[in-house]
């Protein structure tokens, strides 16, 4: 699942997948701006058929947090 999430982020932001490290956070690179962040969230929701709880969205600021959240939601 981790590789799928990272691949989605790289594709949505149109950046080299090597840039998508665990620590990378929204705002760190020009491509990951607010519009890019929304696109990441909606694409993950759509392609992985899940819905991020509203109360969690505020804390989903890094690649790691997105991966962990997806793992949590798909394991529930």
């Amino acid at each position: 699942m981790e590789s799928r999430v990272k691949a989605i982020i790289a594709r949505v932001l149109n950046v080299d997948p090597a840039q998508i490290t665990d620590e990378l956070s929204s705002g760190d690179i020009p491509e990951w701006d607010s519009v890019g962040n929304l696109a990441i969230i909606s694409t993950i929701e759509q392609e992985l058929d899940l819905e991020f709880p509203l109360e969690d969205l505020f804390d989903l600021t890094s690649v790691r947090s997105l991966v962990d959240e997806v793992n949590k939601l798909t394991n529930d």
């Binding site: 607010s34 962040n37 600021t61």
Partner: protein, 491 residues
């Protein structure tokens, strides 16, 4: 100390450096710069620019990075009459090439701003120690001299250079501060891009007022933005309506915890739904919620304040100050009566005198100095102005103006498309206000799917210009002269 009587913005900053030398002017990360340090570094940057052989009237391309070097160079250029052409380093290569080919910059400055054929200097290579040199005095500069050239989206696709004088940018800052009430006690977080009139204007407003500006990357990481609000004691910030959608979506009403410390929020660059204005009023009952109407050519022409104008939230407001006039004219430039729609035209201390290229000035003004906004609307009997439509065909994507013809030109380079047209449609995600929709006519029997067309456009257009909605059609409606009839596609 710098002496710049031609620039009232710089004169105000010099006054703050004298009156409150230890007051913090800028914060970037862990670095704080006081007003006296700021002026010393601007002077050192001016000496540096002169050491590169720059003279009054020369142009430089300056990448709008949220870095202290940008601020030093920007005002240093003003102090010696060098003209700033502020650009977004991430702009498509052909846009930067075009801008350079128009203004012929002597040097380009940025982190990675390299334009073929022009000397480039990286921010990291700039040494601001004065180098033991004195600032060479230049005495013939006037407030009417061009300070900045800002490139905006033209309706035909080619960007237009808006020439803003020192008096224009000072006028805009003074009108804006006068309306909003930004003062020396304020601490503002700047997360807007500096490559746009809105963000760059906030920089000038805050430093003119003698307040403190905290440079923040952008709004993407709201957790970081809220942390800055808390640690720096932020009292004001600017945002576009799309950012408010983003804040709402990702943080719910968390931002209301700052209601007591926020004295003002400036909003602008695109229309905001009335329900969003009402929600802001509910969450920020004592904050001045100021929304401007303006263009790069006439920055902050009008203002409305939501609490004051609670009963007329659909209005775009009133002139920003007594030095700004707004009228509604018909096609011939004749004033129309209150309540009658026409073109909204503006004149005043912040309105540009001209565009950089003579051909862009054709039809830009009525009667010499009434700038034609291209927006349709009327003035009501209460003196407030209301927008009813747009004459110019630009698509406003979350505050970014997009020319439909620029998208169409890119689409027509694809061999599978025989004809096309793009129009503005409401963002189906409800975030960006408007987004582009493309109507396509196939060039053969079979055609690729929209995902493939979209993928092929990614190397031709910046992300916000790529259509969100797509539709095949048999033909594009055109007038007898071949002009696309976009209204027919919208209806």
């Amino acid at each position: 100390m710098i002496n710049a009587p031609h620039s009232r913005v710089l004169c105000d900053m010099i006054k703050h450096a004298v009156d409150t030398p230890d007051k913090v002017a800028l914060v970037e990360g862990t670095e704080c710069v006081t007003y006296s340090q700021l002026l010393a570094r601007i002077q050192a940057a001016a000496i540096y620019l002169q050491s590169l052989g720059l003279h009054a009237g020369d142009h430089i391309l300056l990448a709008a990075q949220k870095e202290l070097e940008f601020v030093y160079l920007y005002f240093a250029a003003h102090s010696i009459g060098v003209v700033n052409v502020v650009v977004d380093e991430a702009s498509p290569r052909d846009r930067l090439d075009y801008i350079a080919s128009v203004v012929h910059p002597v040097v380009t400055f940025g982190n990675n701003l390299v334009v073929d054929g022009y000397r480039s200097v990286s921010f990291s290579d700039i040494v601001l120690n004065g180098n033991g040199c004195e600032l060479l005095r230049t005495t013939d500069m006037q407030p009417t001299d061009v300070a900045d050239v800002m490139f905006t989206t033209g309706t035909t696709g080619a960007p237009k250079g808006v020439c803003l004088s020192h008096a224009n940018i000072a006028g805009s800052a003074s009108n804006t501060n006068g309306f909003i009430g930004t003062c020396a006690d304020d601490v503002e977080a700047l997360a807007l891009p500096l490559s746009h009139s809105f963000g760059l204007g906030r920089l000038r407003c805050v430093l003119t007022a003698g307040a403190t500006l905290v440079l923040v990357g952008n709004f993407a990481n709201l957790k970081s933005f809220f942390a800055v609000m808390e640690t720096e004691g932020v009292t004001g910030f600017g945002m576009v309506p799309a950012v408010w959608q983003y804040i709402k979506r990702l943080s719910g009403k968390r931002i209301a915890k700052f209601a007591n410390q926020l004295r003002y929020i400036e909003i602008g660059s695109a229309a905001m739904p009335i329900e969003d204005k009402q929600l802001l009023m509910e969450l920020f009952p004592t904050t001045r919620l100021c929304m401007h109407y303006g263009l790069t050519e006439a920055s902050r022409a009008m203002f409305t304040e939501f609490h004051t104008d609670a009963g007329v939230l659909n209005s775009i407001g009133r002139p920003a100050s007594s030095l700004v006039q707004v009228c509604v004219l018909d096609e011939d430039g004749t004033p129309v009566d209150d309540g009658v729609d026409g073109e909204i035209c503006v004149r005043g201390n912040m309105v540009c005198r001209s565009y950089f290229l003579p051909q862009d000035n054709v039809g830009a003004f009525h009667g010499g100095d009434w700038f034609r906004t291209g927006d349709w609307g009327h003035r009501a009997s209460n003196g407030l102005f209301y927008l009813t439509g747009r004459k110019k065909e630009l698509i406003n994507v979350g505050g970014e103006k997009v020319s439909p013809s620029a998208i169409e030109d890119a689409l027509l380079t694809l061999d599978c498309i025989a004809d096309c047209a793009c129009v503005a449609v409401p963002d189906p995600r409800g975030v960006l206000g408007e987004v582009p929709k493309a109507y396509l006519v196939k060039s053969g029997e079979s055609a690729p799917d929209f995902a493939e067309i979209k993928a092929r456009l990614t190397c031709l257009l910046p992300p916000h210009e790529i259509p969100v909605l797509w539709e095949w059609t048999d033909s594009i409606p055109r007038t007898a002269s071949g002009k696309i009839q976009r209204l027919k596609l919208k209806s």
